[in-house]
């Protein structure tokens, strides 16, 4: 009894209870904040009470542990006034705060927290579009990357040996930049192959990529003036399962014994299964991928590897398409901008102890 009285004396209520509409959400949420009770350290926690303008009395809607000074009420009716009260709780003793000002929840039409992302998008988007536009007028300079000549050599080798060329366009879908770049390279490779009547094998892992790859190869043959030489069975779908695909391509490699293997696009763990089997069959292997995880294996097992963005650069360089050259240029300036931003923000942050969260 004595203790009970003592505690009622000691426990002070939390102060300054504020309720606001929780920002940047889809409504139905009110954020309540308060100043911790001075007796916070001995409390069990805080109860949150609520009353809407339609109700007569307060109801408990939540409980948080000590040393917390906010609560998100995620169960409000939009555009209705709510009042809140925070209760400091210690065993059976409860001390009430003052009642908050009324607050209403409502959904927002724009998440302000994402503004910086929208700005970044406009900034880089503008850069890329600007350079694509410029590339259509003048020829932009792109440094020739090492390993590019290997693509030509490799096709040449296959023609000399009269053996097929295997082209694996990666394991991701059509919206992936790696796949698109790979298909651009495929188009150039197919044109060269068409000239020499070498067999081309393109096994696919994605049904849509398969459809597109097939059209691209067909078109390459047509553009070189040999539409009849196109064998529709050279581009085919294998399976969407990663390892069944690897098993199938391995089988093709040991049976068809291609002179050259291209691994262009996005790859997962199957990369080394493909590349090492190919190395054992004695094929010249060229890999080009932006899959950072798989690059180490291609570098070890293949003769030439185009690393990361070099894949995009290769597709731009080989095709000489202004769109590709321009966007590559835009990306270069984008990277330059990132370097400047990194340096600038670091200097500001270090000089003025400005904390970036």
């Amino acid at each position: 009894m004595f203790l009970f009285l003592l505690f009622t004396f000691i426990i002070e209520p939390p102060k300054n209870v504020k309720a606001i509409d929780n920002p940047n959400d889809d409504g139905n949420k009110i954020l309540i904040t308060w100043e911790l009770s001075p007796s916070d350290s001995i409390l069990d926690g805080y109860e949150i009470l609520r009353r809407s303008e339609k109700e007569e009395c307060f109801y408990k809607i939540g409980f948080v542990g000590p040393n917390r000074n906010s609560f998100l009420d995620e169960n409000t009716e939009d555009n209705l006034n709510y009042y809140y009260q925070i209760v400091a709780v210690k065993d059976t003793i409860k001390v009430l705060s003052e009642i908050s000002q009324p607050a209403k929840s409502y959904p927002q039409w724009f998440n302000k927290g994402k503004l910086i992302i929208l700005l970044t998008f406009f900034l880089f988007g503008f850069l890329i579009l600007y350079f694509i536009k410029r590339a259509r007028k003048i020829e932009l300079f792109i440094r020739r990357i090492a390993g590019l000549s290997a693509v030509e050599e490799a096709v040449g080798r296959a023609t000399e040996m009269g053996k097929p060329v295997l082209f694996v366009p990666g394991l991701s879908g059509m919206s992936d930049v790696a796949t698109i770049a790979a298909l651009n390279i495929l188009s150039e490779v197919a044109k060269k192959i068409a000239q020499y009547d070498v067999k081309l094998i393109v096994p696919n892992n994605d049904p849509i990529v398969y459809t597109v790859a097939r059209e691209i190869v067909k078109e390459a043959y047509t553009s070189i003036g040999k539409p009849d030489a196109f064998n529709p069975d050279s581009v085919f779908y294998l399976t969407d399962s990663q390892f069944a695909y690897a098993a199938g391509v391995d089988g093709i490699m040991v049976r068809e014994r291609p002179a050259t293997n291209f691994f262009c696009g996005y790859f997962y763990a199957e990369s080394l299964i493909l590349a090492e089997t190919g190395a054992q069959t004695g094929a010249i292997q060229i890999a080009a991928t932006d899959s950072i995880t798989q690059l180490p294996f291609f570098i070890v097992a293949c003769d030439y590897t185009l690393i990361g963005e070099e894949l995009y650069a290769a597709s731009a360089y080989l095709s000489k398409e202004p769109i590709l050259l321009g966007s590559l240029k835009g990306q270069d300036y984008g990277k330059f901008l990132i370097i400047i931003i990194l340096t600038f923000l670091s200097i500001i942050s270090l000089l003025f102890n400005f904390v970036i969260k």
Partner: protein, 218 residues
């Protein structure tokens, strides 16, 4: 029509995909949820038609022309139809129209998947252990500075994960961790920036109809 209509559609869908990220309002979020979780999944499911069509044709051609190893094409076609039959009629949990069991022996689709597809996949995956060993033996040669760096980093990380060695040289795991934490992080982050810009520009080009490769032919 054949080109413009799909391009406009693509742009509209792209804007929808983007807007839902910035607009928390329920009206938009609910619409986006339904679109992503139901509508697009339905469309996506149909794309399998393209793939299965190709497989059947590819193997049928092989059998018809009696190309090398044509007999195996029967294995693919029969297992495909059988698995599909069992799955479609037996139900994914074995509670479909037809009970897939003979006496005590049940062969519903999950059983087939777990006891055939998974072991095949896991074994294929585990071949990597062998391939890593042979690739390391064959290609990890100290040819030039770059190759030496590759080799040394791989060596340290591998050694560090051998517990007796780690107990012997207690600093080694920390060096290994440092390489993974610092130079590795730096290189990957650096590459990631460039790749992300590539993703960004490609997505943008697809939406604006600048990149039309996906239309497949003119």
């Amino acid at each position: 029509m054949k080109v413009r209509f799909p391009l406009i559609l693509c742009l509209i869908m792209g804007i929808i995909g983007m807007v839902a990220y910035y607009v928390p309002h329920k009206a938009v979020q609910n619409f986006d949820n339904e679109l992503r979780n139901t509508a697009l999944r339905i469309i996506f499911a149909f794309s399998l038609v393209l793939g299965v069509g190709s497989i059947i044709r590819h193997h049928w051609e092989k059998i018809k022309r009696k190309r090398e190893f044509w007999e195996y094409s029967y294995v693919t076609l029969i297992s495909l139809f059988l698995t599909a039959f069992i799955g479609l009629f037996g139900g994914i949990d074995g509670r479909g129209l037809i009970k897939m069991e003979i006496g005590k022996f049940s062969f519903d689709i999950q059983t087939i998947y777990v006891n055939m597809a998974i072991p095949l996949g896991a074994t294929m995956f585990s071949l990597l252990a062998y391939f890593m060993a042979s690739a390391a033996y064959r290609a990890f040669r100290a040819r030039n500075l770059e190759a030496i760096l590759l080799l040394v980093a791989a060596f340290i990380v591998m050694l560090a994960s051998v517990p007796p060695v780690a107990r012997l040289i207690p600093k080694l795991p920390y060096i290994s961790e440092w390489i993974l934490d610092v130079p590795n992080t730096a290189a990957k982050r650096g590459m990631l920036f460039g790749i992300t810009l590539g993703v960004l520009s490609t997505s943008l080009k697809i939406l604006l109809g600048i990149e039309r490769g996906w239309l497949g032919g003119k």
